[in-house]
């Protein structure tokens, strides 16, 4: 206790220099939290978007469905059993029917994926409500990337051609009922969303689906013949990317932390040099040498405590502000098939802050201890005389 009291007094006494040290350390502290918060925020956001827009609480796949193999779509569909249908009606599941087709924007032929979704569904955020029937023409919904790609906008007519279950060609013009903006490229590029019942009719697949998206309350696993794919399974790619981004960022704040620690180290070396008489006095007064080492070490770690307080002072409002306003990111890299929001809202978890505090305090204690070890080898009489080498 005495050590801590002394440490505070000594440090505060040093005034301006102390402030400089603390300022740098608090920088490192705030940046570490900010950086991790951004990555966590991105992670959470990407996961949340993917969950809300695409995968729900998991999906039930037709056993032959393979999202990466367009050719599998033709056979990957089955009617819903009564039990599954009951779950759909309860709102626990929403069926999606998928088929390959060709679209003809401006007379060019382009392969597209048709996806049928219930306009009344509440599980996914896709604005399927826009797919409510309108005077006879089938409405279609596309994402903004797709809209750019085929140069279509709301109200435009788009000719599509497909083959039904039996291979019979069919074609008609759909009207673009809406263009949605969303961060999940896997429900956007190359895809056209149609009302489920219309697509079922078009494909001659009444009551069928390719997959079902589970809602909040869905508890069941597989439901013959459907295979349950959990969120973890569906988010595996995303997790991988996030993990590596964290690694790259760790170096940044690692360097910043080292800078701050350098300041503490430097200060410690000097203060031990300048306060030899004081050290000698402590020992003469009956303190063991290790107790004196303790005083000086604690002095160093007190820097970190003050830095955290200072960091909290300006960091809290700053971080709160960034969490509220978010950090705008451009739509780049969406071609890589990974969900990246245009605006990332950092998330500062209690665990993150606690871990950062521990890291900063521990690190500064260690760098304070290193120069203080010298005291332990000190001859008290020399120290009293002010001779230290």
């Amino acid at each position: 206790m005495l050590a801590i009291k002394l440490a505070f007094k000594n440090i505060i006494g040093a005034g301006f220099r102390t402030f400089l040290n603390i300022a740098v350390l608090s920088f490192a502290f705030v940046v570490i939290i900010w950086h991790n918060g951004v990555i966590d925020g991105w992670n959470k956001q990407a996961r949340r978007d993917t969950i809300e827009w695409e995968i729900g609480r998991g999906q039930l796949w037709h056993p032959t469905f393979d999202p990466l193999d367009f050719l599998s779509y033709q056979d990957a569909h089955a009617p819903l059993s009564e039990t599954v249908q009951a779950l759909v009606e309860e709102g626990q599941l929403t069926p999606i029917l998928i088929a390959q087709a060709s679209a003809f924007p401006q007379g060019r032929m382009q392969g597209v994926i048709l996806k049928g979704i219930d306009p009344g569904q509440k599980i996914l955020k896709i604005p399927s409500g826009l797919l409510e029937a309108r005077n006879g023409q089938i409405p279609a919904l596309i994402g903004s990337r797709m809209a750019d790609d085929i140069r279509m906008k709301e109200g435009d007519q788009l000719l599509i051609r497909w083959r039904d279950k039996n291979g019979t060609f069919d074609a008609l013009e759909v009207i673009i009922a809406g263009v949605f903006d969303c961060n999940v490229p896997t429900i956007d590029g190359g895809q056209i969303w149609l009302p489920l019942e219309s697509l079922r009719q078009m494909l001659n697949m009444p009551g069928e689906a390719t997959l079902l998206v589970a809602g909040e309350n869905y508890t069941g696993g597989d439901a013959e013949p459907w295979v349950f794919r959990s969120q973890d399974y569906l988010l595996a790619d995303l997790d991988l990317i996030i993990q590596s981004k964290k690694g790259g960022g760790a170096i940044i704040y690692g360097l910043l932390l080292v800078i701050a620690l350098l300041a503490i180290f430097d200060t410690q070396v000097l203060s031990i040099f300048r306060r030899q008489k004081e050290i000698g006095t402590y020992i003469a007064l009956g303190m063991t040498r290790w107790q004196v080492v303790g005083i000086f070490t604690v002095e160093g770690s007190v820097y970190s405590i003050l830095a955290i307080l200072l960091g909290a002072l300006y960091g809290a409002p700053l971080l709160w502000y960034t969490a509220k306003v978010g950090w705008a990111l451009p739509a780049a890299s969406t071609d890589m098939g990974i969900s990246i929001a245009e605006r990332i809202y950092p998330v500062y978890g209690a665990g993150l802050i606690a871990a950062t505090i521990v890291l900063v305090v521990l690190a500064s204690t260690i760098v304070s201890f290193l120069p203080a070890r010298k005291i332990a080898r000190l001859n008290p009489t020399d120290a009293l005389k002010g001779k230290i080498q």
Binding site: L159, G167, D170
Partner: protein
């Protein structure tokens, strides 16, 4: 407007009084005329792409509608490539790689050589009369020839085209034009048949132009040269082993 009325009126009149031949009869006659025990022909396919046109020549042996064997003759790059169709299976052999590749399932829907035809189009081997029921909906004069206009409606589930409209030469029973429609009524493809010649006693259109109506482009022209019917075609030609020879 007046012209159309002049054209359609007599047609309706005839139709109403049952004076026109029965549509299914016409279709049958067309099939009798067009099909044979077997045939051997050489062909040129002219494909109009965005880089200009290119011509592919080939020799085809076919027996009935189920078996056919095609060997490409030119251009040099395609020469020696062979295609064997048995029932609903298709193999392609390339001499350069000495490989026989099976084209199956979904790949059959790909375009052949960049043309407006898919492999599947070439493989559709069922008789029209098996798939469609026909109805005469009028008569028209097409390129100076009187034609019956037939409407073919699919009577089976798995027809590629739900409805076709066919203009059949009223005298020679050769189709001169055909429009293929989607289930919803959209015109998908148009085929124009011309250069009708009498070969071994039957009338046969030697030039066929295919056009995908949904996309821009010049269409695909298919010209048959040297058509022979009822030849002696050795049976081994329709085996995979023959591809490699």
């Amino acid at each position: 407007m007046k012209n159309i009325a002049i054209l359609i009126f007599p047609a309706l009149f005839l139709f109403a009084f049952g004076l026109a031949p029965d549509a299914n009869e016409i279709l049958k006659k067309v099939e009798e005329n067009m099909s044979s025990k077997n045939r051997v022909f050489e062909s040129e396919m002219v494909i109009h792409g965005r880089r200009g046109k290119r011509t592919i020549t080939a020799r085809t042996y076919s027996v009935g509608d189920k078996q056919s064997f095609t060997e490409y003759l030119s251009p040099a790059r395609e020469a020696g490539t062979k295609m064997l169709k048995l029932e609903n299976q298709l193999w392609i052999y390339s001499p350069a790689t000495d490989r026989t590749i099976q084209i199956s399932g979904h790949l059959l829907r790909q375009s052949v050589m960049g043309s407006d035809l898919s492999y599947e189009d070439m493989m559709d081997d069922r008789k029209l009369t098996e798939v469609y029921s026909a109805k005469t909906i009028g008569e028209e004069v097409l390129d100076g020839r009187k034609t019956y206009v037939l409407e073919l409606t699919a009577k089976v589930d798995d027809a590629a085209y739900n409805r076709r409209k066919m203009w059949v030469d009223a005298e020679r029973y050769v189709p001169l034009r055909e429009d293929l429609f989607a289930k919803g009524g959209q015109l998908l493809k148009r085929t124009i048949l011309s250069n009708v010649q009498q070969i071994e006693g039957r009338w046969f259109p030697l030039t066929i132009v295919f056009k995908d109506m949904l996309k821009d482009g010049g269409g695909t022209e298919f010209r048959m040269t040297k058509v022979q019917f009822n030849q002696d075609i050795p049976a081994y030609l329709f085996t995979k082993a023959a591809l490699k020879q």
